[in-house]
């Protein structure tokens, strides 16, 4: 029968019936239900299994603190593990599945762990599983891993989208219960920019769960109308389903908004939005969480928090049981009993741990057993509670036991920075203390104000106090706070029922009092931890796993402290709490990642010739965020090597064109530009004439090489620097550091122009002919425009351009730059004009081959661990001036002649294929670290030489040209004899590039 436990009342929409399933069983509920309320309405008491002992568990709470009722929601790649049934809104077609079981939920095979529980006490695994040695990973650990863990990931990519955003407010209010609503109302009326976040789908907090009145109206109704008026204020943003999960530095809060989880998957929508909220001030009105009392077998399905029981009856119209007993140490237990009685639910007993008369009117509780100074000493019922046992041995029937051990203010966010909560004896709980996050104040139950009237006033006043410090806010408009009666709330600290017999006997071994339900931490575990010397609160947590479950101990932590205090003879405030850390409630990793995932993890930068390259068979490679053409396959070519060999050969014999736009370009202007360059480059630039280019090596201040490139003196007081693709950003940052921090007196200005110019390398013996066909008036003869010349010119009948005669390939070569918008068109023009010259486009792979043939360095050599001298450029480091890094490059360790130096390597067997990453070992020496002489940094097949060549670093390499060593690659099981040679494999004297 469906909805057997439904009673009258509540705030569900009975006109909107919803069907859903739990473990395959088809059930129905109503709009406005949570999964938990719908399960209870259908009499589904058993909903999960505990973490360690696989004990049967039911719903405990009605909110985010839920330790037990964790389920998987959805199917396929959208399956969501560890969802709290108490938070998940019911929607049509919702599919819920229980987790952490082998077999069915009712007949979980892993429940055998519970039988072995006497052996599985806290910390048992540290003491065993050590023999035989190999068994830990092969036998013990897999078994432990499998029985632990809760829900299952789908193992498929999450198909949903997530957005991330930024919000700003004068005042952020966290929690829209009575204090939060009163705060928002006051603040909203003043005109301040207010954000009110509520993690529930409905504002009101406990107002929806209790039978209160506010301003003489029904409290839930007041909450709804107040929220509506807040929504109508343009300066107030009411955000429901939004959990503020962390308080970060300087008024930044992390919040997660669940956009579609209450309706299921919606295409084209963000499932959730992660907001970063920057608020000048914040009122934390996050309410309080009820805590249980420890007694034997207090974890059976049907044993719930008393406040949650009221929530189910009053808000959801659900009776959590047919015969309900109450166990309390405060007045809330009585409130529960009265509310249930008012809904015609049978109350079988109210057991008050205090020795006080029942508070208020008990006329509705006739027929119930009312016990003063009583206790529940045990319970019975395997998959559902059947009865409870009192200290005198009496058994009282109950299928639901409502327990109230008092309330813990939700201090968490107040502690995310340096706050340490302080103990308040009168409510037997911690309240926010120490240093709160900047701008935060706390109001209502979160601050220990546990009664309604006080909470409302407290919220109102907190908002005004927060806004007082802000300029241009008028507090007069705030009006008076809402009013309500303060209900009685007297609590007497009572944590656990004394055990009847010593638990330290096997007979009592299975009699346990649970503290942390999910992680199966019992009173005994905490005592054992203390016994073994782990009595600091952090030690207890780590030794027993108390509070480390998905609920982070929301219901268990303070109770655990009380047990620890008892066991170690200290007071609770002496012990203190563990540290509260973000997040308040778990946040999906996908939400934290937002849109930055998959192909959109980072932006993709496209070169000016990208479209053309795509049309011409290019294969692309990621270089930083750029996509560069790696090679251009032609029909008939079956391997990339064929393609690259052709591109190299064609370039070296005719002409090739390569897009080199990605190299960093920095416009350097100002009367002190030359001086500036002298100070940032190791070599000298102030002597460079206009119209000339110079190769420069830039050091870090520690003397190691940072970057290299060319800088052109394009006009008076105007230079154009190029950097490597990878270092464009760090070099610019470094130059700005030099300019602003070291030498602010210099007249020098930096503008990154990397993207402003499309730049092509035109290389090969026929490059001059091609360039001549493109430029307008410039004489590009060797005499008029020699190697390392540069000019501003025009091309293709009047287009502004820059021409540099520089070469990375070792051939006669130019680099031609035009405004980026003409890059595509220029590439097409170069190809058409060059057709008769045998022009070929080449990619980064051919570029790499040619630079290795010429012994030029790239990132493989400039690793940040090499000096200018290591790469054979030691003489470029001027000793005639102070520039960045010149001094520290003279430290003994950097000048050591024994350092590995860059040289070339040829395989002795010319057919052998060298490998980058091989290490050099002398002949006959063992392949061990002590004999390591260096490594091979770059390798290519040289089509010019017809064999494999390599660049590498070897100790005293420059002195050892002609020597033979072994290139050892034990990683891949290879070894080749190699000959040390000059790094300049092709045209060592540079005749071609000067031709």
């Amino acid at each position: 029968m469906s909805n057997v436990n439904r009673v009258a009342g509540g705030q569900i929409e009975r006109s909107r019936k919803l069907s859903f399933s739990f473990d395959g069983k088809r059930l129905t509920g109503y709009s406005g239900d949570t999964l938990a309320s719908a399960l209870l309405a259908n009499g589904e008491v058993l909903v999960g299994r505990s973490f360690k002992y696989h004990r049967p568990r039911g719903i405990v709470s009605a909110g985010v603190e839920e330790p037990n009722a964790l389920v998987e929601i959805g199917t396929g790649p959208r399956r969501d593990p560890n969802v709290r049934a108490t938070v998940q809104e019911l929607h049509e077609g919702l599919v819920a599945t229980s987790q952490n079981r082998r077999g069915s939920l009712r007949h979980d095979l892993m429940a055998i762990n519970d039988l072995a529980s006497p052996l599985l006490a806290a910390g048992f695994y540290y003491k065993t599983f050590m023999w035989p040695k190999a068994f830990w990973e092969k036998v013990y650990e897999p078994a432990i891993r499998h029985s632990a863990g809760l829900g299952r990931l789908s193992m498929e990519p999450d198909p949903d989208s997530y957005d991330k955003g930024f919000l700003f407010a004068d005042l952020l209010i966290i929690g829209a219960g009575p204090a939060g609503l009163a705060a928002a109302l006051a603040a909203g009326r003043t005109g301040a920019r207010v954000i009110l976040c509520e993690e529930d789908f409905k504002t009101g907090g406990r107002l929806n769960a209790e039978r209160y009145s506010v301003d003489d109206a029904d409290a839930a109704h007041w909450a709804a109308t107040t929220t509506e008026s807040l929504r109508n204020m343009s300066n107030v943003r009411v955000m429901t389903r939004t959990s503020v999960y962390g308080a970060y530095d300087h008024g930044v809060y992390g919040a997660l908004e669940r956009v579609t989880d209450h309706v299921g998957a919606v295409t084209g929508c963000a499932r959730q939005v992660l907001w970063r909220i920057r608020a000048t001030r914040c009122v934390l009105s996050a309410g309080a969480t009820e805590r249980p009392i420890a007694f034997t077998n207090n974890d059976r399905p049907g044993i719930m928090l008393a406040g949650a029981v009221r929530t189910y009856v009053n808000r959801f119209g659900v009776a959590p049981g047919k015969r309900v007993a109450v166990f309390t140490n405060n007045d809330d237990g009585w409130r529960t009993a009265r509310d249930l009685a008012a809904a015609s639910i049978e109350i079988t007993a109210v057991i008050d741990a205090r020795d006080v008369p029942p508070p208020g009117d008990i006329s509705a509780l006739q027929g119930a057993r009312l016990v003063r100074a009583g206790a529940v000493v045990d319970t019975h019922g395997r998959h559902a509670l059947k009865n409870i046992q009192l200290a005198n041995g009496d058994t009282i029937p109950a299928d639901c036991l409502a327990v109230s051990g008092g309330w813990n203010p939700n201090v968490h966010l107040s502690c995310h920075q340096r706050g340490r909560p302080t103990w308040r004896e009168d409510i037997a709980s911690f309240v926010p203390g120490g240093v709160l996050p900047t701008g935060m104040s706390v109001a209502g139950a979160a601050n220990g104000e546990l009664t309604l009237g006080t909470a409302l006033r407290n919220g109102h006043n907190a908002a005004l106090a927060a806004l007082e410090t802000l300029p241009s806010i008028s507090l007069d408009a705030a009006g008076a706070p809402p009013s309500a009666e303060d209900e009685s709330g007297f609590v007497e600290a009572y944590w656990r029922v004394p055990e009847k017999s010593s638990a330290f006997r096997l007979s009592g071994a299975w009699k346990r009092q649970w503290v942390d339900y999910q992680n199966d931490v019992t009173v005994k575990d905490i005592k054992l931890s203390v016994q073994e010397g782990f009595s600091a609160v952090e030690h207890v947590k780590r030794y027993t796993t108390l509070g480390m479950a998905t609920d982070q101990g929301k219901t268990s932590n303070v109770l655990g402290l009380a047990v620890l205090a008892d066991a170690s003879g200290r007071s609770i405030p002496e012990i203190g709490t563990t540290i509260f850390r973000p997040p308040w409630t778990p946040v999906p990793i996908a939400a934290l990642a937002g849109a930055s995932r998959g192909a959109h993890f980072r932006p993709t930068r496209l070169t000016p010739s990208h479209t053309w390259a795509t049309e011409n068979g290019a294969t692309f490679v990621e270089v930083g965020n750029w996509l560069r053409a790696q090679w251009f396959s032609q029909p008939g070519e079956t391997t990339w090597r064929q393609t690259v060999d052709r591109e190299v050969t064609q370039t070296r014999t005719a002409v090739g064109v390569c897009d080199v736009t990605t190299l960093g370009k920095i416009d350097i202007q100002g009367t002190d530009s030359g001086v500036f360059l002298d100070r940032v480059y190791a070599n000298t630039f102030s002597t460079l004439a206009v119209g000339k280019v110079r190769y420069g090596i830039m050091l870090r201040e520690d003397g190691f090489a940072m970057d290299d490139g060319t800088t052109a003196h394009i006009a008076q007081d105007h230079y154009i620097m190029t950097t490597t693709t990878a270092n464009a950003v760090p070099v610019f940052r470094h130059l700005e550091f030099c300019r602003q921090c070291l030498w602010p007196e210099l007249d020098v200005h930096l503008v990154s122009t990397t993207e402003a110019w499309a730049q092509y390398a035109i290389a090969g013996p026929r490059s001059r002919e091609l360039v001549a066909r493109i430029v307008d008036d410039l004489d590009v003869s060797n005499e008029a425009f020699p190697f390392m010349g540069c000019a501003e010119t025009t091309v293709c009948c009047g287009l502004t351009a820059r021409l540099f005669r520089i070469s990375f390939s070792g051939e006669l070569a130019y680099e031609l730059a035009v405004p980026t918008r003409y890059g595509d068109s220029l590439m097409r023009r170069l190809m058409s004009e060059g057709k008769s010259l045998g022009v070929v486009p080449y990619g980064t792979e051919a570029l790499g081959v040619m630079r290795i043939e010429k012994g030029h360095c790239t990132g493989n050599e400039l690793t940040g661990q090499t000096t200018a001298a290591d790469i054979g450029l030691g003489r470029m480091v001027s000793q005639k001036k102070d520039s960045i890094g010149n001094a520290l490059s003279q430290r003994p360790g950097l000048k050591d002649p024994d350092r590995p130096q860059l040289v070339g390597f040829k395989p002795v067997d010319r057919n052998a294929q060298l490998r980058a990453g091989a290490h050099f070992i002398e002949k006959g020496a063992a392949v061990v670290t002590a004999n390591d002489q260096g490594w091979m940094s770059s390798v290519a097949y040289s089509p010019s030489l017809g064999h494999s060549i390599g660049l590498g670093f070897i100790r005293r390499g420059q002195e050892r040209i002609g020597e033979r060593v072994r290139a050892c690659d034990p990683l891949r099981g290879e070894e080749h004899d190699v000959e040390i040679c000059s790094a300049h494999f092709v045209d060592p004297d540079g005749e071609r590039l000067r031709a």
Binding site: Y126, T128, D702, G864, H919
Partner: protein, 416 residues
């Protein structure tokens, strides 16, 4: 009391009433042979190896808070020896070998779990760099395999092979790497050292270092003066604070590193995986939580907490690498103080002050080094000469020009 399966059964049947404290809670004595300042993993390991290898047992380990409250209590538990430089690789290999025998050595199951580590490469240059590194590992006897894309896919099929921004080109796999239950390392070393007579003293903060005639003679603490001719500093993120007591500036900055754990999940990720195109590494604990992290926040901090940009950056890396973890939820984040050195490598050295030793600069890689660091530090304290695998970890190496710069990032701690 020796721990064993038999003992567990016996005590279990006896209601666990027979278990004794794992280590004593002694009052500090006035004199010791060695004082170790810092009761974290490295300090406790040092005490154990001083006792077990060098027979020095008149040792006090002084911890200002609770035992293991520093970075040993908050890290991502990874152990490995996949380093590049000859000053590093043999040291980390020694450390890994000590991990492999740890449980039998100290009679404590710290759950050393050699489930392997895979460092992914996303460019040809990265593959080359891993080849160089993998060979350096082989030279030091650490093993390792270079996997191509297919090899990676076979081992970790749930990575993003389909629409990755930076495709996986291969990876460096070290089978002997893995994870360890971090708190248990501190407890196990403390228990073992205690069993040899070492005083492990909690809640004892060092407030000053006493010198006479240039030599150190003892320390002032919150629990009184304690004397010893040898004082060994081992305080990780607080290195600069403690060394400022003797007016020493260090090549160290303290930075915050955040780490994260998800809710418990059924077994999902077999070993450790690191992303080579973003800052992200992940493993799964025996309890089922995905333990993951990334880069340091990047600014000096002693606050033991971080900020959102890094939290998000790490998640972005994770989702890009393994999109199937999207619906796993971050349960908890925490921040530790990292003693970031100028080259990303540590120090195990004597100071200029006779009798004063320094161990620090472990950056965010100190956990895996715990046994090796303790072993080599103990060697240095006992013999006054550096252990052969730790000769590169000198304090004056920046002045002489011998940095041990694994990343090649130069003298900027937040880049290491």
């Amino acid at each position: 009391m020796r721990y064993s399966a038999w003992q567990v059964i016996k005590q279990g049947l006896n209601g666990h009433s027979g278990w004794q404290a794992a280590f004593r809670d002694p009052e500090p004595k006035t004199d010791y042979d060695v004082i170790i300042v810092g009761g974290g993993g490295h300090g406790l390991a040092t005490a154990w190896y001083l006792a077990s290898v060098h027979g020095i047992t008149k040792t006090a380990v002084l911890e200002k808070g609770w035992l293991g409250s520093g970075n040993i209590g908050r890290n991502t538990t990874i152990i490995r020896s996949n380093y590049l430089l000859p000053d590093n690789e043999p040291f980390y290999e020694l450390s890994l070998q000590l991990w492999e025998g740890l449980e039998q050595d100290i009679n404590y199951n710290a759950m050393v779990s050699q489930r392997g580590i895979l460092n992914l490469a996303h460019s040809d240059a990265q593959v080359d760099a891993y080849a160089r590194r993998g060979n350096a590992m082989h030279l030091a006897g650490a093993g390792g395999q270079l996997l191509d894309t297919a090899g990676v896919r076979k081992r970790v099929p749930f990575l993003n092979f389909d629409d990755a921004r930076f495709p996986i080109k291969g990876g460096l796999w070290q089978e002997r790497a893995g994870t360890v239950r971090h708190d248990a390392v501190a407890w196990g070393y403390a228990r073992a050292a205690d069993s040899r007579g070492v005083d492990v003293i909690q809640n004892c903060e060092v407030t000053g270092i006493r010198r006479e005639g240039g030599r150190v003679v003892g320390v002032d603490t919150s629990r009184g003066q304690i004397n010893a001719p040898k004082i060994a500093i081992c305080v990780a993120g607080n290195s600069s604070r403690v060394m400022s007591m003797v007016d020493q500036r260090l090549p160290i900055e303290s930075h915050v590193l955040q780490a994260f754990v998800s809710e418990g999940l059924k077994p999902t990720i077999p070993g450790v995986v690191t992303y080579g195109a973003g800052h992200f590494y992940i493993s799964q604990s025996d309890k089922g939580g995905l333990v993951y992290g990334g880069d340091i926040d990047g600014y000096n901090s002693y606050a033991q907490r971080g900020n959102l940009p890094t939290v998000e950056d790490v998640a972005e890396g994770g989702l890009s690498l393994m999109p199937m973890i999207g619906r796993a939820k971050m349960l908890r984040s925490w921040g530790g103080i990292m003693d970031m050195s100028m080259d990303g490598s540590p120090f195990i050295d004597k100071t200029d002050i006779p009798g004063l030793y320094f161990n620090g600069g472990w950056c965010y890689g100190g956990f895996k080094a715990t046994p090796g660091s303790g072993y080599c530090y103990a060697h240095l304290i006992a013999t006054d000469t550096p252990h052969t695998v730790a000769t590169g970890y000198r304090l004056n190496r920046f002045r002489t020009g011998h940095p041990v710069d694994e990343r090649g990032a130069g003298a900027q701690p937040n880049l290491h």
